[in-house]
């Protein structure tokens, strides 16, 4: 017998780690939504590009630099998306921008598939190999620990940025009162670039951290595996709340890991995706403001 502790602790440990990575993407979605009221469906590809950036840079550079390259790849993708697609469409309906971000993902994925025509899946390298410690007979790997630490560090950094710096205040102001903010001499375009760059960097970071949990990654995994979970996490947290997105990501990760562990996948395949749909519909119908959101 593995014991009750094992049965409960294993999904929590696994869900905490993968959910923390999803939470990073969800924060990127929330930042973009707060600043420009746009649902960014290209966010999944920021994740994949981050993973690819690290994988390719690892051939040439020391691994530490490759990680930075991965994060930078995501950030550059975010900046290009803002500059080339979102800004020309900024006066259009939000649904148009949504479709445009979907189209971006659709333009990027085939390029990744071409790159991966010989090997379907790419091996992903953890930052630190091996297990850190054991709790209720569940091994906790260094990678899982690092992901949760990354979430804490990013959360603290964002809290400092929004509460203590002028630029953070300007970002918050531009999301609440764009016109007044502009009259105060703050350039909204730059704030928008900053937010998209941050969202891209968060996606890239998730792309560096998440694949080693599954040992490998494949073309388009950000869109097919991460994107809907990140959106659901953001909605669960309230869509406009950065802490809410963190909490939503972790909660959703645990729900998904629990569904995966406790449902027989032969009789009932795809339980995690059903869990995501259930959480999404329940939150949207019962409590559209989410856990920590102030508006619908």
């Amino acid at each position: 017998m593995q014991g009750v502790g094992f049965v409960i602790a294993r999904p929590i440990v696994q869900g905490l780690a993968s959910g923390a990575a999803v939470g990073l993407v969800a924060v990127g979605l929330v930042l973009v939504y707060k600043s420009s009221r746009v649902f960014n469906f290209a966010a999944g590809e920021f994740v994949t590009l981050g993973a690819f950036g690290t994988y390719l840079a690892d051939f040439w550079l020391p691994f530490g630099l490759a990680v930075i390259v991965g994060i930078a790849t995501g950030a550059i993708a975010g900046l290009l998306t803002e500059r080339l697609v979102v800004r020309p469409l900024s006066s259009r309906p939000k649904v148009t921008i949504l479709v445009a971000t979907v189209a971006i993902a659709f333009a990027i994925i085939p390029i990744e598939i071409i790159r991966s025509s010989k090997t379907q899946a790419f091996p992903a390298r953890p930052i630190v190999h091996g297990n850190a410690f054991q709790i209720f007979r569940v091994f906790v790997s260094w990678q899982q620990l690092i992901i949760v630490l990354a979430l804490v560090v990013v959360g603290a950094g964002l809290a400092y940025f929004f509460n203590r710096t002028d630029l953070g205040l300007a970002t918050l102001a531009s999301s609440q009162e764009p016109t007044a903010t502009r009259l105060m001499g703050i350039r909204l375009n730059r704030i928008s670039m900053l937010v998209w760059g941050m969202a891209g960097a968060l996606g890239g970071l998730a792309g560096v951290l998440l694949p080693p949990l599954n040992l490998n990654f494949f073309a388009g995994f950000g869109t097919t595996d991460v994107l809907i979970a990140a959106f659901t996490a953001a909605v669960l947290g309230g869509m406009t709340s950065v802490p809410g997105a963190f909490v939503g990501g972790v909660l959703l990760g645990i729900v998904q890991a629990g569904a995966l562990a406790n449902v027989n996948s032969n009789k009932f395949p795809g339980a995690p995706s059903v869990a995501v749909l259930a959480v999404l519909v329940i939150v949207l119908v019962v409590r559209p403001t989410g856990l920590l959101g102030k508006e619908a």
Binding site: V99, I228, S273, L277, L280, V285
Partner: protein, 370 residues
Amino acid sequence: MATALEPEAASPEVHVVPTKARAGFRPTPAGWAARSLAVALPGLIVVWYVHHYAPVRADFLAGGVIIAIGALSLNVLVGYTGQISLGHQAFIGIGAFTSAYFIGESGQSFYVGMIAAIVVGAVQAVVLGLIALRVRGLYFALVTLAWGFVGEQSIFQLKSFTGGGAGAHATRPGGFTTDRMFLVFCAIVLTLILLVDWRLVATKAGRALQAIRENPQVAANYGINVKGYTLFSFAVAGVYAGLAGALFASRRDTVSATDLSFYLVALPYLLVTVVGGLRRRGGIVVFAMLFVLGGEYLPDLAKSLHIKFIQENAGNIIQSLSGVLAVLTLIFQPDGVGTITAPIGRWLKGERFSMHVSAGGGAEGVSVRP
């Protein structure tokens, strides 16, 4: 300029009063002859080409027709109802697997499978429509995205229903078993759907949907049954998708979950709808065919030019380019590339040739009688 996705988009088209030039103009017999020739000549070339190079080409053309039907289903949701769907692999796939289940497992005829696909497709669409009554706009897009992945990762993997990874078998309808005859069958279905769609937007239901798309509250005040018509439009989209699914399953004899992924179905169909032009049936059908033919002929072209890279990756290159094309369309030609061909369409209908986009009063879009 109004965007196709924008609710207000249709309003300039509604208030079009026939101008003097338009009302008084009648083409001369020579003009009619030129117009007939303009229709007949490309048609003959297509028929000759298919006749000569079938059956491989016919199979691909059938694939294009199926994409067109799926995109028309999306057009009902995105174009007429104003609800975006990112989970059309579930819409198409449920139809495909239902049809395959009745044909392959129960040994029924194709037509039984097709009717079952229509019914089940409509039912799942109406269930989503019930959610759409509560959740609108961007958030509903998320629900459809999640629904698509439930289909892909859960429903399509059920061994008893879809045969798991091995896929399910479905035969073609009797008398239409060759590739060429199956293309004819697909074309018949497409023609029927185009007729139904045309009558749908030209009648009371179309006007009701347009009013709901622009403003549900105002529509309700005018006595339009908002809930009823929203669910009705979802049912229509489900019927189209069910038909597309039944044809999808029969085209290749087997259908498996990997054929019906987000990437291979939901994304291309949405982009075909957007690039072809929302509420422009002709544009959608034409772009669906171009999308398929591009993937089919690019390898030949690359081979003759000795570009090995393009030859090997033609399908992916076409997909990537259509993503870029979709972004460019949204930025520079918001009503879809159909607006470029709209003057030709109006000319063929017997009007004077004019490049004005709005002059025709929605030659293919939502046409409302004054």
